[in-house]
Every structure is written in structure tokens, then in C-alpha cells.
């Protein structure tokens, strides 16, 4: 069905949703922040 194909095509073309260097930087920063907090919590626990 052509209409369904067009909709799938539109959806598939949105991938990847976001793929910019700035996003990677922000994402890794969040990742590291959370790892740091986990580390701090572990130290606090000890």
C-alpha cells in the first residue's frame, strides 16, 4: 500500500533522531556526571 510505504519512509528517514557532535558531548557529560555521582555515593556508603 503506497500510503503506508510513504509513512514508513517518513518515519525511517528520521533516524537517527539526533546525531550531532554537540549531542554526543552533552550526552557523554551527563553520562560522566552520573558515573561520578554513583562513585560518590559508593564512597559515602563505605
Amino acid at each position: 500500500e503506497h500510503s503506508l510505504l510513504r509513512q514508513i519512509s517518513s518515519l525511517v528517514r528520521r533516524l537517527p533522531a539526533i546525531d550531532s557532535p554537540k549531542f554526543q558531548d552533552d550526552f557523554l557529560m551527563e553520562y560522566n556526571d552520573t558515573l561520578l555521582m554513583t562513585y560518590l555515593a559508593t564512597i559515602t556508603k563505605c
Binding site: 500510503s3 510505504l5 510513504r6 509513512q7 519512509s9 517518513s10 518515519l11 528517514r13 528520521r14 533516524l15
Partner: protein, 220 residues
């Protein structure tokens, strides 16, 4: 997806009309379809037997034009203008809208210079009018105009008709997506199992310590 809902009835109408249109009437129908302000899908019409019959006849240029509206862009039209019927203004506008849809499929950020070059538009004002009034208001694309960086950030683009050979690519992408989703699901389930076993271990260890403490307390 609203675009598909809006044009669903239109497509049916034109396909119905195509069942009884031959020759000259079919050409008229193609002209009408490629001028209609709310129609951006042409595969169904292309697949109609009476339209396909135009191939090799005196009207085959109209069939080529319909194929151009299904898959092509404004640049394709300019490169083949001498072999195609002249476009009236509504058709020109539609082909430019379809060109924006194709560009929006290929990139998430469209520089104004690229858009102006591809659409034969000489100034930013005219370009932004086209993007706002004729593309975003009609729902074929959604996004944000960034005047400072002179680009159009695409958030959504309605799908155009699939070009031959695109289907395999789409199937591959979907299979890839399904695969990575399955892997993610497996990973999550493993993590849940790991967390359960860890908490079981911690609970057991805690109990051992308490039992030992209890024993010590008794022995003291």
C-alpha cells in the same frame, strides 16, 4: 502522518477518475492532479492501467511529468524541461514543495543557500515565505527556521513516493532497527537478572552476618 490522512480521499478520487479516463482525458487528469494544492502522492495514479497506457503514445510526456512529480525534483525538471510539458504556476509551486520534501528526507539541517539554489529562489524572504506558507502550513514538513545560522532545522518530513530500489533500503533499515531493539531488550533483561541476583546475594550475605551476630550474642 496528517498529510496522508488529508490526501487519502484525494488519492482515491483521482484513482477512481483514472479508471474511466483515456488518452486526452488521462492527460487532463494528470494536469489536475499535479496542480491540486493538497496532493503530494502520485504512486497510486502512476499504477493505474489507463495512465500507464500513455507510454509510447503522443501523450507520453505527460506520463513522464507524472513520474517526475512522484519521484523527481525541480532540478530534474529544469534538466529535462524541453521534453516535458510546460508547468503552470500551481504545478511549479507543487514541484518546489516536493523538492523541499526530498531535501528534508536527506538532511536534518538544510542551509538556505542549498534550498535557494535547488529551488531557483533569489532571496531569503521569498524562501522563508515558501517554507512557512507553502510547506509548514500544509504539513508536509515541520521544523524551525534559524535566521542567524541561515538554515532550516527539519523535525518532521512527510514521506514522498518511494523511488524504485528504495524499498530494499527501507526494509534493511527497519530490520536493522528491529535488531538493535531486540538486542537492547535482551540487554535490559540481562541487567534485570543481574540486579535480582545481586540483591539476592546481598540479602543472603546480610542474613549470614545477622545470624553470626546472633550466635556471638548468644555465646557471649
Amino acid at each position: 502522518m496528517e498529510v496522508e490522512q488529508k490526501q487519502g480521499d484525494l488519492v482515491q478520487q483521482f484513482v477512481l477518475l483514472a479508471t474511466s479516463a483515456r488518452g486526452r482525458a488521462a492527460v487532463e487528469l494528470i494536469t489536475h492532479a499535479t496542480s491540486h494544492p493538497q496532493l503530494f502522492a502520485f504512486s497510486e495514479l502512476l499504477a493505474s492501467p489507463h495512465i500507464a497506457e500513455l507510454k509510447g503514445t503522443e501523450h507520453s510526456a505527460s506520463l513522464d511529468l507524472l513520474r517526475l512529480f512522484a519521484h523527481g525534483t525541480w532540478t530534474d525538471y529544469k534538466n529535462n524541461a524541453q521534453m516535458l510539458p510546460r508547468l503552470d504556476p500551481p504545478q511549479e509551486l507543487k514541484l518546489k514543495q516536493l523538492t523541499v520534501m526530498t531535501l528534508a528526507e536527506t538532511a536534518k539541517v538544510l542551509p538556505y543557500d542549498l534550498l535557494m539554489q535547488q529551488l531557483d529562489i533569489s532571496n531569503v524572504r521569498e524562501l522563508e515565505d515558501l517554507l512557512i506558507n507553502d510547506c509548514m502550513y500544509s504539513g508536509i514538513v515541520r521544523g524551525k527556521l534559524d535566521q542567524r545560522r541561515r538554515c532550516f532545522e527539519v523535525q518532521f518530513a512527510a514521506g514522498r513516493d518511494l523511488r524504485p530500489g528504495q524499498l530494499d533500503n527501507m526494509i534493511a533499515t527497519l530490520a536493522n532497527w528491529l535488531n538493535s531493539s531486540d538486542n537492547l531488550l535482551l540487554t535490559i533483561q540481562e541487567k534485570i537478572k543481574w540486579a535480582d541476583s545481586m540483591s539476592e546475594q546481598v540479602r543472603r550475605h546480610k542474613k549470614e552476618v545477622e545470624d553470626k551476630a546472633e550466635e556471638m550474642r548468644k555465646s557471649i
